[in-house]
Symmetry: C2
Subunit: 247 residues, 2 copies
DNA sequence: CGAGGTGCGTTTGCATACAGTTCTGCGTTT
DNA sequence: AAACGCAGAACTGTATGCAAACGCACCTCG
């Protein structure tokens, strides 16, 4: 495949697929990231520029740029040491998960400190929102009703709130680059998440209380603990099902 | 400038300027980063692809990619909200410095924890190296002899050692992207660094002792404190000399 | 029969051409 | 004289062509 592609050379001319907003490069970046995160590009498989370009109805240039971005953020690795890199989708390993979760926990810890340094008038509505999200999680935990996707989204929103109010521009960008990668692992983890959900709810409750008390160290610690526990739970699942999952 | 540049269209054909190793894109990335870090591209000024391409003797394509990398890492920002980004060299502000130092301190804290978890046989030679570097700093501090560049390099090597032995691949990459940005601020700071050098030496000593004792929390805390103190000192200088420095 | 070399195909990386958009500067009009 | 509008230029973003390099397979020689 991806051999003689003289079929749609200027197919994107009539602006069919670029209907979204933003530039093609950003579109390509998001699309390819989605493909990787959702597992449509399996971990360990190698990436073909021309193939993706055709799939996204654009030229190789923006696709190329997007792949390089993804490489820098860790979604893509280069096989073979130097020169003429052959890009592969980053595999999912236990060590990588541990490192990834440690990093994001640490970053969110910083953001959590930022939240505590807001005046109390601003902190109050934030805790209200956090509590509302955690309520929903708690409700799902007791009712065993929600499907994994919903749980994931609520949890993600919970953490994003902290970033939104506690992180500066740099930290926000950094987090935005790393956070989606946790979704790759989360999908592995989804199977066994529901039974541990109450633990997560409790950890979140600890975080909220720390925010309310305004104790920076406690917030930092609680956020890191939440992620580290997540890494532990994830590591357990990986031990059972094997690395790289069953995509 | 950067107007009608029909002079050296295929000048790079004979492989004159690409004599180094690696691809052009990586070369461009390093070169432009150097230009920014060393202040030859002043903070706040806007970046012209064509101009840089001519300066580096290559086409706009790799330059373009490099600029996008730099943007993602925070060396470059886009002026004008969305669409048709006009890139500018990231300005140096007090808030940014604080955020930057907090982030890198946190990341090195993780690496520090990693170091403490090595078996003692491997940890010993590391502390020896750390001590040797700190000796040199201490010597300079008492003799008031070294020039700022040397001090910077020794301090950088100190922190890089911790990354080298305590960080995984992800953390190493992340740190490698962020660390050079501290140099931009360090140059601002250079003027008043020598008189505070003994403080830095003491902080390093604390770090080393924490590593020796194998106390993860202590190492983490000590590293973060070192960076936070640095940010404080830097903030003081910025208050005096004004933002954006006197490049 | 095995091992090493060579040649071809595929793919990446770079350069350049082209189109769209925005900013600037000058002229005209009120 | 000042302000608004138009025209022109310049810069960014994208597409495509071209060359070199990597990998694989086949063929040949020991």
């Amino acid at each position: 495949m991806a051999t003689a592609k003289s079929k749609k050379p200027a197919a994107a001319k009539n602006g069919k697929a670029k209907a979204e907003h933003g530039t093609s490069l950003i579109t390509a970046f998001r699309e390819i990231r989605e493909l990787i995160v959702h597992g449509r590009l399996s971990p360990g498989t190698w990436i073909l520029e021309a193939d993706l370009a055709e799939r996204l109805n654009m030229s190789r240039t923006p696709v190329r740029g997007a792949i390089h971005w993804l490489q820098r953020e860790g979604y893509v690795l280069e096989h073979r040491n130097v020169s003429k890199s052959r890009m592969i989708v980053a595999p999912l390993t236990k060590e990588d998960a541990n490192e990834l979760y440690r990093i994001i926990g640490s970053l969110e810890g910083i953001a959590g400190r930022g939240v505590t340094q807001l005046p109390e008038g601003q902190r109050k509505p934030i805790t209200t929102q956090l509590r509302a999200l955690n309520e929903r999680l708690s409700h799902i935990a007791s009712g065993q009703s929600g499907h994994p996707g919903e749980i994931f989204e609520i949890d993600r929103d919970f953490h994003r709130l902290i970033i939104k109010y506690g992180a500066g521009p740099r930290l926000t960008t950094l987090h935005g680059g790393i956070e989606p990668q946790t979704e790759r692992y989360w999908r592995l983890y989804a199977s066994s998440i529901i039974k541990d959900l109450h633990t997560s709810v409790q950890e979140h409750e600890t975080i909220i209380r720390a925010v309310e008390s305004g104790d920076s160290d406690a917030v930092d610690t609680a956020l890191q603990a939440n992620w580290l526990r997540g890494a532990d739970r994830l590591g357990h699942v990986i031990d059972i099902f094997g690395e790289r999952g069953s995509w």
